[in-house]
């Protein structure tokens, strides 16, 4: 399936151009609004006058998802004539948890019988996909899925199945996760947060540091090659060893798995290695942002520099931004040695 559009909302802005600029610019310090550094999405990024009426009741989670999905659709330049030909898959680890807790605030403050129906309906995981479907008048299959380890990879597999089966010609496939107050507390207590705000993706440590992030990415995937083409997804596989030698590996090292030692083996394949979590932060659904970086690199035929502090194992890193012939990129996520996923992208 072809990658025909990308939409993104992340700490440094909205849209694929913002993302490209961030990749070129490199590391920028995260915000320190709480007790630790985090890559938060500012409220100003989530304002869109053209959609304000349609998302006036939407919460922050849904807004991030809607804006990135609408941007991916627009970026593709495709107008889906048959609205049933466009499917939507939203993958998330935690869903709109801030709204859930706000709803529980109502229960605690006003009793079980005096709570807000608007908050409740927005607290449901699939509210965001519902907004997207209504705004784009997309009537194809629309599902929201959740997973902590491999949410995006499973969403890609599903998108591939739908297109192969002919359920739809295009799928908006994306991820969204937010960093609410309770999640910040959980991160503070459970993660090894980098006090200097610097993720160290190539240390391959057994106690890696992280800097929590939030955001949303949608990818427009199409059966046919469109006018805007970032390349194609040729394979998404689980539990398999890496075969072949891509031009570049992009790895999901952001400190969230708690142990990144197993990524070290990728050095042995001899290909260039990159990883962009320092640009957007640590997220369980961060694979989608690395995937977006891969697609952008294939389209632009540019290798973007990755940010690192140390490279103790001598990995062949992408240390500068430069024009490079890139035919194939593998995006790798390893949760445990036996749980490894490979997403293969080709020019």
């Amino acid at each position: 399936m072809f990658i025909s559009g990308i939409g993104i909302v992340f700490t440094r802005g909205r849209g694929i151009d913002s993302f490209e600029n961030a990749l070129k610019e490199g590391w920028r310090a995260p915000s320190w609004t709480g007790s630790f550094p985090a890559y938060r999405v500012g409220q100003e990024i989530l304002i869109d006058a053209s959609l304000s009426k349609k998302i006036r009741r939407a919460d922050r989670f849904s807004r991030m998802a809607v804006l990135s999905a609408v941007d991916a659709y627009r970026d593709s330049g495709i107008t889906v004539n048959q609205s049933e030909n466009l499917g939507i898959i939203l993958a998330t680890a935690f869903g709109p948890h801030a709204t859930t807790f706000s709803f529980i605030d109502d229960i605690l403050d006003y009793s079980d019988a005096n709570v807000s129906p608007t908050k409740f309906s927005n607290s449901v995981h699939n509210a965001a996909a519902s907004y997207i479907s209504a705004i784009l008048d997309s009537r194809g299959p629309t599902v929201t899925v959740t997973q902590f380890k491999l949410a995006f990879q499973n969403a890609l597999i599903l998108a591939g199945s739908w297109i192969a089966e002919g359920r739809c010609d295009h799928v908006l496939c994306g991820c969204a996760d937010e960093l609410g107050t309770v999640m910040e507390y959980a991160c503070k207590m459970k993660l090894n947060i980098a006090k200097d705000g610097k993720i160290n993706p190539f240390a391959f440590s057994d106690s890696p540091v992280s800097v929590p992030g939030e955001g949303s990415v949608f990818i427009m995937l199409s059966k046919e090659k469109g006018s805007n083409n970032y390349g194609k997804v040729t394979e998404t596989s689980f539990f398999q060893n890496i075969t072949g030698k891509p031009d570049l590996f992009i790895i999901d090292t952001d400190g969230m798995s708690g142990n990144e030692k197993d990524y070290k083996d990728i050095i042995n394949y001899g290909s260039l290695i990159a990883g962009y979590s320092p640009v957007f932060g640590s997220m369980l659904t961060g694979s989608a942002l690395n995937f977006a970086a891969a697609a952008l690199m294939l389209k632009n035929q540019v290798a973007y520099k990755c940010i690192f502090q140390d490279n103790p194992f001598g990995a062949k890193l992408c240390a500068e931004t430069y024009a490079k012939n890139l035919d194939e990129i593998y995006c790798i996520k390893i949760c445990r040695p036996e749980i490894k996923t490979i997403v293969k992208l080709q020019k």
Partner: protein, 387 residues
């Protein structure tokens, strides 16, 4: 390539296994009462599972406990035993409540002092439904939890069907599970769609839904794989359709075109015509809007003589579990050749041109449809075939 349903497992307020469930619905038992799992001032009756099988009960993980109870029965029925590491196994399950970190005691402590015991967070992080089931059986294929509100279970079954058809796995564990919880009870109450009495799907005087809990799990397998393993199949999962309303966050599209497309797609996927369907296990929540739209679509697609029912009068609306439970009932009914009376229905609604069956009814035919409608405007349907 056809897909076999090789195992069925179910737990609900109607019973702890398929046999008990079928016995209860055959005898018209409706085991509803006030909520006892949590405290609430809300008066709405709910359908609770009164006691969980002790060996399968996971501490403070009610949805998982329900799912594992149904999973055990389904695996036994399929002649399978965990671990399934020798097979390419996928896990696709629907839920709603288990996907949310919504522990009220944890949050109460957190908002009071800014800190709280993290045990509920740990349980949540280890409790993604599909991940935990996949881990328990050593599944080596895709695993995903579908959180499409009330159509989660049906969509999960449809996704698992796609996996098998595309060769991603040989076996899939699918269906849905959900626990009764104070948060959705308050939420549905705030929307004004809970009934103070027992629900009456499609009835003229219906006044809303009752929440319930439970799990329905199907084991599905590629036919070639199943035949080698076991021999002749008796049930098939043959079609799936899913379409969105693109209309409203909580209300169904009044013209029902999303649901109609989902049903028609499931039929074409199965290679059958509306006339081939011997009954429909409808979503039938008992709310004014759902039943009106669904009744209208069923009559439009299948004509006025279609036999249909809602089983929510026996189980309550089990949200993410509903699609799995209703698929299990549909498969069992096809196999046994009868459908139960649609509990709660007494009086025909002038705005719905068809009426559900009012007594236990014999069915002749090979194909049945189960439908789900959901918050967010999702509509899903599956077709099940008796071999």
């Amino acid at each position: 390539m056809k897909v076999v349903i090789s195992g069925i497992g179910i737990i609900s307020a109607a019973g702890f296994n398929l046999e008990q469930n079928l016995d209860a619905i055959k005898n018209g038992k409706r085991n509803a009462g006030p909520a006892s799992v949590f405290s609430t001032i809300l008066p709405y009756p709910v359908f609770e599972v009164k006691a969980l099988p002790e060996k399968l009960e996971k501490e403070e993980m009610r949805t998982q406990s329900l799912a594992f109870a149904a999973l055990k029965e389904a695996l036994d029925d399929a002649g399978l035993q965990a671990p399934l590491s020798g097979f390419r196994t996928g896990v696709c399950l629907g839920t709603t409540v288990a996907s949310q970190l919504n522990d009220i005691a944890f949050y109460t402590a957190f908002r009071k002092s800014g800190s709280a015991d993290l045990k509920p967070v740990d349980l949540f992080l280890s409790g993604n439904l599909a991940e935990s089931v996949a881990c328990s059986v050593n599944a080596s294929g895709p695993s995903i939890t579908v959180v499409n509100a009330c159509s989660s279970g049906t969509d999960a079954i449809g996704i698992a069907l796609s996996w098998l058809k595309s060769g991603l796995c040989d076996i899939a564990i699918t269906g849905g599970a959900d626990e009764i919880s104070r948060v959705p009870l308050c939420g549905f109450g705030s929307l004004g769609i809970l009934s103070n009495s027992l629900c009456a799907p499609f009835d003229k005087n219906r006044s809303g839904l009752n929440l319930g809990e439970g799990a329905g799990i199907l084991i599905i397998e590629r036919e070639d794989f199943y035949i080698k393993r076991c021999g002749k199949p008796s049930l098939y999962l043959t079609g799936y359709g899913s379409f969105a309303d693109a209309y409203h966050l909580t209300a169904p599209r009044p013209d029902g075109t999303g649901l109609e497309s989902a049903i028609r797609k499931a039929l074409s996927d199965a290679g059958v015509l509306p006339a081939d369907i011997c009954f429909v296990n409808a979503h039938g929540t008992g709310t004014t809007d759902n039943d009106k739209v669904e009744g209208s679509v069923l009559s439009r697609v299948f004509g006025n003589k279609i036999k249909f029912l809602s089983t929510k009068g026996y189980t309550g609306h089990t949200l993410g579990g509903a699609g799995g439970i209703e698929a299990a009932y549909t498969a069992a009914a096809l196999k046994e050749g009868w459908i139960p009376a649609s509990a709660g229905f007494a009086c025909r609604d002038d705005e719905i041109s068809i009426s559900p069956v009012t007594e236990n009814t014999a069915i002749n035919g090979s194909f049945a449809v189960s439908t789900s409608l959901a918050f967010g405007g999702n509509n899903a349907a599956i077709v099940i075939e008796r071999a």
